[in-house]
Amino acid sequence: MAQSTNFKSKYQVNEQGYYGQFGGAYIPEMLHPNIEELQQKYLEIIYDEAFQHEFHALLKDYVGRPTPLYFAKRLSEKFNTQIYLKREDLCHTGAHKVNNTIGQILLAKRLGKTRIIAETGAGQHGVATATVCALMNLPCVVYMGEVDIQRQAPNVKRMQMLGAEVRPATSGSKTLKDATNEAMRDWIANPTDTHYIIGSVVGPHPFPDMVARFQSVISEEMKQQLKEKTGNENPNYVVACVGGGSNAAGAFYHFLDNEAVQLVAVEAAGHGVHSGMSAATTQLGRIGVLHSSKTLFMQTEDGQVIEPHSISAGLDYPGIGPIHANLFDTQRATFLSATDTEALQAVQLLARTEGIIPALESAHAIAVLDRIGAKPTDVVVVNLSGRGDKDLDTYIRELQ
């Protein structure tokens, strides 16, 4: 992780915790001391030499980094361009989520915290958190919507095997949004001993920036690997799916200020953007305050949060992180969307052309490759954020 503590870039967070008009820390007073402590200490802690050494050693030997940058020959022929896949699906636990949980648990230890909580939707972030808690011998409570507990049963078992307690969120729609509310409530009740490992670039400042920095290892490696393979460290396109947006933030991070690199964020359109069953936040959302941050999210005229829909639990979130809201607002990134059906077709396509079964989330990024306008000589990097093992039940049901 290259040190970058200056706040000069217009796409990075400023000293007040905002990305343009998005971000901030709209927290109840009960969380003020925790958030203030993080705001004051996070950069100093994570750029400390010993921290960096421990973080990178774990990423290398435990997570299995650097993940390969793979030239997808047959996929490239199909779309008549040069496609590289950044293989985050090969990370330990099966997705990029673990980059962040390794970073945050090291941070929690340095803050003297002795208990970890997390929220999870599909269970990938919950598994990645339970994993690092086992590694560091810290008790772990993961909040998960009651509905998600039913539909992601194998991940619940994985978390329990790893020693975590999975607590159902029974309020509201009983999905990711409500799991996040429950985790916030736990943190309010346990402010001194507990660290809340947020799984995406959402929540109050400094969480979005902190998670983006831990995930930025993705684009840092991309640059080195592209340089080796193509002679140029900059691609023409970087494509990533966006729920809250942690894998996209990591994949875009080191290209943000190079406007020659086109950034493409792919949202989940569910049954179709205007079907009433969608999670395409930038097309359906408005600015407001959700989960302690000013950002774009789907809401009623009166400011009540609207339930999203996506076949992919990891993209089934009504908002996006403030970093992405700003990339949308400034038009630095292009936002596209893929429907449930298109994502399933992309799963099949990648399986048959490259022998890789992607996660449903990542398949959304594959699904737009015919629409980005890449020329035959262009270099396109797709962040393949996770693998499809967790989605096999859905694939068996939907693709037969």
């Binding site: 007040q16 901030g24 820390a25 709209y26 927290i27 109840p28 007073e29 009960m30 003020h32 001391p33 925790n34 309020s171 509201g172 949004k177 409500d178 509310n181 916030m184 409530r185 309010i188 009740a189 346990n190 402010p191 001194t192 408005r286 407001g288 305050v289 959700l290 989960h291 302690s292 809401q299 005229e301 009166d302 400011g303 009540q304 949060v305």
Partner: protein
């Protein structure tokens, strides 16, 4: 214009009872009759809850009342309609309390204008922090003569409490413990030490203790250390599915206040 909150604390220094009730609960049009009953039963102030789908500082009971209210069709514009002529019947101080997003969507300026027009005296927005308030909204609050009321918790530093004390001119909402609303335990010794500590700061603003105040005993303990206390969850429970609000409210208040 004199402020009813200031007048209240000038008139009465001890045992102030403030009740929180979610607007639109249990029925869409319940809030006006509830205000009347609360005033008739000698309640000193009411906090009217503006419902939100994701109330992260509240427990299950208040979230439930928010969900019912939203399902009943309660919106901010509906609430202001209902409260339009409330000052012809109600003269105790009224405070609006709710999360930031619905207020932000209504437009801060519109919200404060309509609140002032209804005769609202103060606003509590738990997730609008001091920094955002000072830099973006303080002047608008002042233009509409509405008091912004802040929370302090056992985790709030003395310097920050002092700053909050300087920034407001109504009362300070003392959160009784590190918890969400609706706690069920009795007041513990460490909480009393914390209340004593707040009392020893000799703040310029009066204080009301809230969160976990649920009956006569917790109310009286809180009143030993503060000017009064706020009851929310226990009141919501008392009127949930009530078939006779007059009777149930009167009984509830009688059980708390020493006559």
């Amino acid at each position: 214009m004199t402020n009813r909150i200031k007048e209240l604390f000038q008139k009465k220094e001890k045992n102030i009872l403030s009740v929180f009730c979610t607007a639109g609960f249990p029925e869409l049009n319940s809030i006006v009759p509830i205000l009347v009953e609360l005033q008739n039963n000698g309640v000193d102030m009411v906090e009217i809850g503006m419902p939100f789908s994701d109330p992260t500082a509240d427990g299950p009971v208040i979230q439930y009342s928010n969900t019912i209210a939203i399902n009943n069709g309660m919106m901010l514009k509906t609430l202001f309609e209902q409260l339009k002529s409330i000052r012809s019947q109600i003269n105790i101080p009224l405070v609006l309390m709710g999360y930031f997003n619905p207020v932000y969507q209504y437009g801060i300026d519109n919200f404060l204008k309509d609140a002032q027009a209804c005769g609202i005296d103060g606003i509590i927005i738990p997730d609008l922090p001091m920094y955002e308030y000072e830099t973006m909204y303080q002047s608008t609050f002042e233009a509409h003569q509405l008091q912004n009321i802040f929370l302090v918790t056992p985790q709030t530093s003395e310097a920050r409490i002092r700053k909050i004390d300087a920034l407001t001119d109504a009362f300070i909402y003392v959160v009784s413990s590190n918890a969400i609303t609706g706690g069920t335990s009795n007041i513990q010794e460490n909480q009393e030490r914390y209340f004593q500590y707040i009392k020893s700061l000799n703040l310029k603003n009066p204080t009301l203790i809230g969160f976990g105040i649920k009956d006569k005993s917790t109310f009286e303990t809180a009143c030993k250390y503060a000017n009064g206390a706020i009851i929310g969850t226990a009141f919501i429970n008392a009127i949930d599915k009530s078939s006779n609000l007059t009777k149930d409210i009167s009984q509830f208040i009688r059980n708390i206040k020493t006559v």
